[in-house]
Symmetry: none
Subunit: 413 residues, 2 copies
């Protein structure tokens, strides 16, 4: 049985607002073991609403609708559901009394227009709304169970939690658990990661393993469906272990964890301080570290040296080195890291140089980046070349720098 | 003719990620007069993909698809489109060569799995991707024109702007014009701004004027609907002028322009150099400046001084000052700006100190921020207190610092 979520409103299809209701519902449904196959968003147009409901009722066994239950002329869910079911709208006294009582509690007179909120498709069941005037609607059409809820997030959330979720559980929908584990990697491409995991990512594998890439971070999602939380965990654990064994230190964290959090966790464990000397990233490495709570204990600070002169005066980079090799070179990145470590008096220092664009240099293309790490006994650098937009080059260079710190502390701590 | 946008990915239907691609596309389409009737989001499942494409191709004349074009096994758009059209997938040498060239530029060997990205439904037209390996697909099915684009936002944005939009215009899709002008302000609250513009923001005003606030930046949106671009512009121009007259130097930019862009434009005009000395913002001011193209000409660099010791050694802040007033004080912010200007040898220097949390200090609450600006003849500071989360405090402190620079250069150049 498939599940579909429908959000109604021209403010969504026009792009004015972002549809967060569907995301919220998908997450809540996953918690009770219901996977969502489709989200549909439809403008405030009666025919389009009927069409969307019809498609959903044919391809899905459970449909959750949000929006279109208000009192105004562009609120069309009631009428569209009636047309879908081929029935009339009928007046429901109890719902009407509740709406009036809601207005009375607010010390206001009910406008005549709110009367339409007490109309329901014949045969439908009203769902009381404890925090607003719009009742929800439960309706069976063929083999499809539809629930319509208000679009106002706070009202929708309460109606789902109090009324819909218990109903889904009692209908024996859900019942199981859908549990997801996300494992984040950095340091190689999506296809290289997948090549190591082809047996896991193939279709039909239990649990399901998906792979996505975002700004050079490759994430694996293990999705387990089981009767209980424990069984789902038991499905995930061995797969997570296999992934970790095969990917080794490509893996830096789980769920929403970012590289800088992994770096700060390692610095804290090993009691090592860090400073940054940034060219191409212009403060982004420092910025990301500073986002982490408690960062100031181990991240001491950094220098953004856009002007070459600062590399000489504040990082003691030898002037002839820049003249001989150019500012964007492995040698200068290494000298910056070494100088930064001395000036900031830290255990580790990391540096970035590169060309973020828009223009490259004669012999150096946009996207060329060197990052270097200095520690007590040495210094090393890595280079990359991403022919990307300015912001993307900076973001990846920052990740490369953070990853250099991570791998060093992990391996040599 | 109706338009539908389809986003593909289990990370969307599961609620893990929010579908921002559909919103972005809806906005871009509105700009060329195309209203969107449906958004559909579908999980990584071949049958569901085919079903979603079929429904869309029947109810819409224009369908834009994002996602599912990657090289991995859960990328199913190519195959689903082929099934929809009832054709085979065929290999396209030119696209294959482009993918190989992209890997070559990155200095990497193309994994065998990426070969699938050169497969297209027979009869479809490949759309080159200048910034990624996944080409797009243009396909006519019955009376429906489909365009499939990568799901990675940066790649999708470029492909739409460069390839799809011109095509839509040449096909004569799009009709009237929906034109929006956004005017951005910083330095006061939303209600103060609205009080100055009540006659414009009332409902029914033509053109429509909306007001929104995001991270302390207050934006006014003028929305004009007209038959032609010129008519829409003519609606907008006098309203924009009125807004600018009434708001004066609260206005810093238009459309997506940010404070740092306004700052760098002013620095360039007046030929002034700038450096940053950051405490609470941890590199965010430098980071934002570095995001602007050409920043390095006037933004020389900055210091992130998380560790107090760095304020003494690298900014010459007098140690007794910190002992007497505390690091989070107007006096220390001012001393940092003055010291930064000297050490970095710039015309202007701006500094931030404050408490981003999670914990405050006995006499200083989370959200207390001082920012200071030093110039040739003096120094000044402003303070604020936002009882917000860490990231929000840092972001607003950075904006306050940038605004200090902006107003100074604007007024005293």
């Amino acid at each position: 049985m498939k599940t579909e979520i429908i959000s109604i409103g021209s403010e969504l299809t026009s792009g004015q607002n972002l549809d967060t209701n569907s995301q919220w519902l998908s997450r809540r449904l996953a918690e009770i073991g219901i996977a969502v196959a489709f989200h549909t968003t439809v403008a405030d147009d009666l025919e389009d609403n009927v069409a969307a409901f019809r498609v959903a009722s044919q391809r899905a066994g459970l449909v959750l609708v949000t929006g279109g239950l208000g009192p105004t002329q562009d609120d069309l869910t009631r009428e569209a559901l009636a047309r879908l079911a081929g029935v009339e709208l009928v007046f429901h006294q109890e719902s009407f009394d509740r709406i009036q009582a809601m207005f009375a509690r607010l010390g206001r007179t009910m406008p005549e227009t709110n009367r339409v909120q007490a109309l329901f498709p014949a045969g439908a069941e009203p769902i009381p709304n404890s925090h607003g005037t719009a009742p929800g609607i439960s309706l069976q059409v063929g083999s499809c169970q539809l629930f319509a809820m208000p679009g106002v997030p706070s009202e929708m959330h309460r109606m789902f939690e109090k009324r819909i979720r218990p109903r889904l559980l009692s209908l024996g929908l859900g019942g199981g658990v859908l549990l997801q584990r996300k494992i984040n990697c950095f340091g190689t491409g999506e296809s290289v990661v997948e090549e190591k995991l082809l047996d896991l990512t193939r279709r039909g594998h239990v649990p399901e393993v998906g792979i996505t890439v975002s700004d050079a971070t490759v994430s694996l999602r293990i999705l387990a469906r089981a009767a209980t939380h424990e069984e789902a965990l038991a499905q995930i654990a061995p797969v997570e272990q296999t992934i970790r064994e095969r990917l080794g230190d490509l893996v830096f964290g789980v769920e929403d964890e970012e590289l800088q959090e992994s770096v700060l966790r390692l610095l804290t464990e090993k009691r090592l301080t860090l400073a940054t000397a940034e060219g191409v990233t212009g403060g982004l490495v420092a910025r990301r570290l500073a986002l982490v709570k408690g960062a100031s204990a181990w991240f001491r600070g950094g220098l953004v040296a856009y002007d070459n002169e600062l590399k000489f005066t504040m990082l003691s980079v030898p002037r002839p080195l820049v003249e001989a090799q150019g500012a964007v070179s492995a040698a200068v990145a290494e000298a910056m890291a070494v100088g930064c470590r001395t000036h900031f008096q830290t255990n580790l220092a990391v540096s970035t140089v590169g060309i973020a664009g828009p223009e490259g240099q004669s012999d150096k293309p946009v996207g060329l980046v060197y990052t270097a790490l200095a520690w007590k006994d040495g210094v090393k650098s890595v280079s990359s070349n991403w022919p990307l937009a300015r912001e993307e080059v900076q973001s990846r260079a920052a990740k490369q720098a953070l990853n250099l710190v991570r791998l060093h502390v992990l391996r040599h701590g």
